[in-house]
């Protein structure tokens, strides 16, 4: 009877082991949950960056519409520029001085040479087309310890011969 009674309960060691297993599992579940949460909240920045990248493309097209010779042709090939909106003149311009948007996003754009083959198709190597450029827009922002990037690419052409 006495022996059986003693066997019934938990020893201190057992309790400590059991509670530490529970604690470790609760804490690890929490850690995973926190990671999910961070991803959820980071999504807003990703959405904002998508629109910024899209705006970069449209800004370059708008600059082309103003004048290819004035805005696109003088850009050094392979060099990053920062598009900025001139609120006085109501137009997009390129500058080499860096700037951030809302102290979070850095948006750059650059033009690269475009090449065409014998059938006028755009190719990576061929005859240089001086009236076309490969446009790359990059939006970068820092998220926690990593830097995130959104990139959009398109071709710009001297459509209006201006």
């Amino acid at each position: 009877m006495k022996k059986g009674f003693y066997k019934k309960g938990f020893s201190l060691i057992e309790v400590i082991v059991a509670s530490s297993i529970i604690a470790v599992s609760v804490i690890s579940i929490l850690a995973v949950y926190t990671t999910f949460l961070r991803n959820t909240f980071d999504n807003t920045a990703s959405l904002q960056a998508s629109y910024l990248a899209e705006e970069g493309i449209e800004a370059a097209k708008s600059m082309r519409d103003f004048g290819w010779n004035q805005n696109i042709n003088p850009l050094t090939v392979g060099t990053n520029y920062y598009p900025y909106f001139n609120t006085g003149a109501n137009k997009w311009q390129a500058t080499s001085s860096s700037s951030t948007i809302d102290a979070t996003f850095t948006r750059t754009f650059k033009v690269d040479n475009a090449y065409r083959d014998a059938s006028d198709n755009l190719v990576t190597s061929g005859t240089l087309d001086s009236n076309s450029r490969l446009l790359t827009v990059n939006v970068t922002w820092v998220q926690g310890t990593s830097t995130k990037t959104k990139t959009l690419q398109t071709y710009l052409t001297n459509l209006y011969n201006n």
């Binding site: 529970i22 807003t44 959405l47 904002q48 109501n90």
Partner: protein, 171 residues
């Protein structure tokens, strides 16, 4: 009898250890419950905010791209407050005109002068809407700056969205 009563229960030290362990565990559990409740509210706010930005920006972008020209007399540009108005002459016959305008809390759309509804859900609020008209010799474009906010107190969030869209019908 006497010996039974001393061996039956737990010692004071044992009790203290058990209570301490239990309270630490409870603390962790209660903390996580609080975290989950708070984050639920934050997730809800973020979702409302993102939806508001996405809906408003996508509609504005699509309508601007589809438009033929700007109705300048019925538009207010270069305004940083909530008095911005954008009226577009569309490429279609119905509606021939689409008007976006900021009210104190939301962004509203009129189609051919008939109120068609808000673009931002009632849980989110419009903070500012700024519009700029970019006119070139070959095209017109509109630059949009939209700031929306959602939630109150510790779950308050706001986000700014930027976009520029060229009127494809203006070429």
């Amino acid at each position: 009898m006497q010996s039974r009563s001393t061996t039956k229960g737990f010692s004071l030290i044992e009790m203290l250890v058990y209570v301490a362990l239990l309270s630490i565990l409870l603390l962790v559990v209660i903390n996580s419950v609080i975290l989950i409740i708070n984050s639920y509210r934050n997730i809800k706010t973020t979702e409302v905010l993102e939806n508001a930005g996405l809906t408003a920006m996508d509609r504005l972008e699509a309508e601007i791209r589809n438009a033929k020209s700007i109705d300048a007399t019925n538009s207010v540009f270069n305004s940083s407050g909530t008095s911005s108005i954008l009226t577009l002459n569309t490429s279609t016959t119905t509606p021939a005109k689409v008007k976006f305008y900021a009210t104190s809390t939301t962004l509203a759309v009129d189609e051919d002068g008939v109120y068609s509804g808000p673009l931002i859900s009632s849980n989110a609020r419009l903070k500012t809407l700024s519009l700029w008209l970019i006119s070139t010799s070959t095209s017109q474009a509109v630059k949009i700056e939209l700031e929306v906010e959602s939630g109150v107190g510790p779950s308050y969030k706001s986000a700014k969205f930027y976009d520029t869209a060229i009127l494809r019908g203006s070429y």
